[in-house]
Amino acid sequence: MAQRAVALGAGALVAALALGPVAAVLWRAGGFGAFAPGDGQALRFTLWQAALSAALSVALAVPVARALARRDFPGRSLLVALLGAPFILPVIVAVLGLIAVFGNSGIVNGALEALGLPGITIYGAHGVIVAHVFFNLPLATRMILQGWLALPGERLRLAAELGLGPREVFRVVEWPMLRRIAPQAAAVIFVICLSSFAVALTLGGGPRATTVELAIYQAMRFDFDLGRAAMLACLQLALALAAGLVALRLSGAAGMGAGLDRVVPRWDAARRSARALDAAAIALAALFLLTPLALVAWNGVPGLADLGWPVWRAAGQSLGVALASTALCLLWALPLATRWGEVMGLLGIAISPLVLGTGLFVIVRPYVNPVALALPVTALVNALMALPFALRILRPEAEAIRTDFARLSAALGLSGRVWVTRILLPRLRRPLGFAAGLTAALSMGDLGVIALFADPERATLPLQVYRLMGSYRMEAAQGAALLLLALSLGLFWGFDRGGRNAGA
């Protein structure tokens, strides 16, 4: 039962890391603070935008994921990697990219004006949703694509043998998979959007788009009202856990059973209407997701020449942090790839980074100089924050492997070590590669908790982007953002590709 002990230990560590800092902040504050008048409205807006963003991201991801699952075309793997990019961009960069497309002086309005049509505005509640879909559609797509690729080939073969039409294939084969995968993907996205703040504010166009996280920021940074910050953080945690539990219930349906990994083409996809549908889904998603990225890249090129040593040093440090986070996150995720583990994992993104950082600061400060720990702490927190994503990716297949091979392994009397190294890891390679890529890229792009700890020598690349912007060097900041984008994508692509090649 060593495996169980490891899983319990890993779970306890997540809980301690997520809840410990909140407790530390509470202890420091001497108790919970009070609600403020605007909090009710902030809570309503937070819930509304998170629910809608999650639902739309998942709904739109379904046709895109299906198209990617059943079509092969030149550049497909590159496209799949690139589609992941919005999710891993630093918020400020992605927002500027979106505004370059949909903003008042963006290319969409430019085109509308040239055609003599009235312009559109991105600012408002709909802008918040567009931005959140931009960030999370790729994540939802990849999670659901993973589910599609894990459909047992035998089912598709039987469906083809029966000559099932598209509607029936969906009902009989695909829907049961979606019922399992979609609620969990939606829960993860809901929790991400719960703690949205800068995006919601900037594109929401003003105080109507106030979220709970903004109130936390205000309490923490401006009013130094730790009790209030801790209380709001707990509220956010409770919402996230509730979302996780609902998703767990919804996705409780039985699995599809074992398949034998035969690669079977999709015979139902040959008809012309299906082709057109898939082509449209892929093209629209690519256009929506890649145009802002292309503009970020394009705007960044002139600034590349201005990047000095500090930026390159930060890039190196960010790479180190990203690789450390990745190793840590995967080690953590493997024992937690279970139903309850996944709910636990949500704690990692549910907790406000500001509260997390402050709590950690309070905890480590009596023992070491927190500044010296800036990078290790960042790596640890990034691993914690990437954990829910890694678990979402790993769990379905890890569970399938457990159910499919548990009896065989028991019959063979495999030891825990042999089970992990010979069965679990090799069969998990594809999702492991994806999870590693996502973790590494997220860790590259995430500011995490470094703001409270950082010093001039120990900066990550996203922090340098903000510093450049804060010193009027917008062009160099855009260059650094391009570098960040390239490095994040490179890590993502490398890991993901490694996993897929090994699995082929």
Binding site: P152, E154, R155, R157, L158, A160, E161, L162, G163, L164, G165, R167, E168, R171, V172, V173, P176, A253, A254, M256, G257, G259, V264, W267, D268, A270
Partner: protein, 232 residues
């Protein structure tokens, strides 16, 4: 008549050649060592594998480019013949209405009759995991009868059953194929199955599917490859 004309199919260094004709109706066994290409041949007929060259015809019509569901062919696989998350009734309903829609009263009766004939009437609301192996095999056979296609491909469908049950299922299969006036191809590695079921037998060995011969004759005077396989 089902014809394989100059078929070459395979993957990763393995190749199967087949050039043969099968009269319909009829019961044919496909026998030969593991890995010789028996399943490959069935996949080519069913449309799960496109041949590198050659063509498959049925009554003179070229099937080679058709997807599996549009061929006059029904297949029973080694396993996974039923969706595990649907009841037996729902599985059979799919065979009749693969494109969805409500069952007509007549279709309901057909399903009930097929279940009845297989002795499964009481189990129609169960999922495949909740019935015995023999019952699941019969349900799969009922599915094939409902599909009502003139060619039946059977890829060792009863390999997991015990000898008595297997014999019973083969008899059932022979009866069903006879009623449907179908051409039934049974892949097996057991000569007894071939003798019990098939009028004619195709030997697949060393990447070549030989034209069919009378079953009794081929076992009375086995060719070299079959003799090696039988260990005689």
């Amino acid at each position: 008549m089902l014809a394989l004309e100059g078929i070459v199919a395979g993957s990763e260094g393995f190749e199967l050649r087949a050039d043969l004709r099968l009269e319909a109706p009829g019961r044919v066994a496909v026998i030969g060592p593991s890995g010789a290409g028996k399943s490959t041949m069935l996949d080519v007929i069913a449309g799960f594998r496109a041949p590198a060259s050659g063509r498959v015809t049925w009554q003179g019509r070229d099937l080679t480019a058709l997807p599996p569901g549009q061929r006059p062919v029904a297949t029973l696989f080694q396993d996974n013949n039923l969706f595990p998350h649907l009841t037996l009734h729902e599985n059979l309903a799919l065979a009749l209405r693969p494109r969805g829609g409500r069952l007509t009263a007549e279709e309901r009766e057909r399903i009930a009759a097929a279940l009845e004939r297989m002795g499964l009437s009481d189990l129609s609301g169960r999922k495949p995991g909740a019935v015995s192996g023999g019952q699941a095999s019969r349900a799969a056979l009922a599915r094939v009868t409902l599909q009502d296609r003139p060619v039946m491909l059977l890829d060792e469908p009863f390999a997991a059953l015990g000898p008595a049950l297997k014999a019973e299922m083969l008899a059932e299969l022979a009866r069903v194929a006879g009623e449907m006036e179908a051409l039934a191809l049974l892949v097996t590695h057991d000569p007894a199955d071939a003798r019990a079921f098939a009028e004619r037998t195709i030997l697949v060995a060393e990447g070549v599917a030989a034209p069919p011969r009378e079953t009794a004759a081929i076992f009375a005077d086995p060719p070299e490859a079959l003799r090696a396989y039988l260990g005689a």
